[in-house]
Symmetry: C2
Subunit: 309 residues, 2 copies
DNA sequence: ATTTTAAACGATTACGTAATCGTTTAACTA
DNA sequence: TAGTTAAACGATTACGTAATCGTTTAAAAT
């Protein structure tokens, strides 16, 4: 009938559609979901949808979902493992067909549990160790490497790094790329040149102050995301340092504002929208075939050279 | 039983919960929705979730939804009325309990239709003319007024305005506030001092170029949002103009970055998170009682004076 | 002792769809 | 002409819940 499951004569078809119009009939997706055992809904769990980077990833998820016939239930875990667990339970009860997962913490237990219960999951933007799960991620090590290599190419040897919250954690691949580039070019990694930030402007601002307070401040700085780079530029400007002559600064992400900072920000562009869209594509593949082996996609990043370094 | 609809003895209760644990039983929200005729889901229709302002509003919606027991299905209309209509149909078929609506265009026909069909709706962030609907909105006229009055207080008389896409449309309340402030202080509104932008950095950048190209450029500029203000700062900096001495600039929104531009951006802070949260609270009230008269909440804004003006 | 009342719980049914099964009619083969 | 096959469609049932109705048992009232 309506769902083209068998042959229906033209005449009856016409009469049915006519009646649908007259009665203002619209299919009830809830009843349909109950019967078909699929909802055409997917969940997206993120630490904070208002964080610009994730907002753009979410937009990619949304766009691909629309294209492929899925609605997206967005869940802000707020970096809170308990709230994350609450949302996971809710999404399971609401029978979403799959989940795009941007983890709140380093732990992989939540995803592990989901997988074991047969829920299709794609982990997005971060690696979770020890879980066999579809993953889509940007080349973060490569990003740090690209940025640092660029600064080395410019002649810098004393290069600082404004890292994320956990310098040693799995999260800081970008910091690892920084170290690898230094090593590759025979430059000693100096721990005093690596300062932690909080991935926001304020953290970059404070971190830059610490770097500039060193006896021998760096001549260039790689900030592990653009927000912190903006904070770092702010610090340098207040000190009346010229960028890039006195300190060069390179960020990471390429947020929309990066072209319009003062000076404009050199950065390593991340494929944010693409990452979200690919997560959904992989998720739909997984929904279709739950038995195939998990894949891991590493998306390349682009060095964008502007005026800050 | 589980839903506390009648008395059950302690003993049986214990046995039931025991069995639930043993069988790993979890209620099926789809079946429950079908039976109860409510889904505990709400839809949020926005032009673009990756636009920072809307991302923060969405976060407010998400937080209040979580608190009140609702999940949020986010729908990006992408400013496209057809896609908006598609999403509306989908949300209706999926039987969301209500919709938070940030309209794609100026037309109110979509909302009008929703209302007529009995769907609870709260319009957020923009007024839709001619529809009786719950609305929560920031004081945009007041914002423009506050910003402009501040510039007048600083002694400026020749004040430019970087407006949104439709200068005359209902959308540009902030521009109207600008005009009202000028009028209030007996300053003539000069059309050549009002330039349209696109609400993004690029548009602010271009608009500022136009303003500076005038025979008599303004000594101060009110940009109708912060992204355009950042673009304007960028233009002024490239021209080696000092801010605020040569041109003062005031923005609107107070995005996270506003404290870290160079110089830091004076702006009119909008209650973004609060607006989203209030939209959900109003929506839940509406869901409870569909017959009460619609209300309109006007949220106050705050002038934040920093270094740019 | 008999009736009344309430506590406690089992059993039935509707929600709106889609898959399955079964029935009618016509066409086609032997 | 009888038997076979397929086209076209109506009718039944399951999906998992919650509201309603009905039944049993015990306590309370007369």
């Amino acid at each position: 009938m309506i769902n083209e499951t068998r042959f229906v004569s033209q005449e009856l078809k016409a009469r049915v559609y006519q009646a649908m119009r007259e009665l203002n009939y619209h299919p009830n997706a809830i009843a349909r979901s109950l019967r078909r055992k699929k909802t055409q809904n997917i969940g997206m769990i993120v630490p904070d949808i208002s964080y610009p980077f994730l907002a753009e990833v979410a937009r990619g998820v949304e766009d691909a979902g629309f294209e492929l016939g899925y609605n997206v239930i967005v869940c802000d875990s707020d970096g809170d493992l308990e709230r994350e667990a609450d949302y996971i339970r809710l999404l399971q009860e609401k029978k979403v067909d799959g989940i795009v997962f941007v983890a709140a913490g380093e732990s992989s237990s939540h995803v592990q549990t989901l997988i074991e219960q047969g829920m299709p999951v794609v982990v997005c933007d971060r690696d979770l160790p020890g879980v066999e799960v579809d993953t889509v991620i940007a080349d973060n090590v490569g990003s740090g490497y690209q940025a640092t290599e660029h600064l080395i190419d410019l002649g810098h040897r004393r290069i600082g790094c404004i890292a994320g919250p956990q310098v040693l954690g799995i999260s800081n691949k970008r910091g690892n790329g920084y170290k690898r580039a230094l090593g590759r070019y025979g430059i000693l990694v100096r721990e005093e040149l690596i300062v932690r930030g909080d991935f926001r402007c304020r953290g970059g601002y404070e971190a830059m102050r610490k770097l500039l307070a060193l006896d021998e401040p760096p001549t260039a700085v790689f900030a592990c995301n653009d927000l912190m780079a903006v904070g770092a530029i702010c610090t340098a400007s207040k000190r009346r340092l010229r960028i890039p002559q006195d300190v060069a600064i390179v960020g990471c992400d390429d947020i929309a504002l990066a072209s319009f900072t003062n000076p404009s920000l050199s950065t390593v562009a991340q494929p944010k929208h693409e990452m979200g869209a690919m997560a959904v594509e992989m998720l739909v593949e997984r929904i279709k075939d739950k038995s195939k082996p998990p894949t891991r996609r590493l998306l390349p990043t682009d060095l964008v050279i502007r005026d800050s370094g």
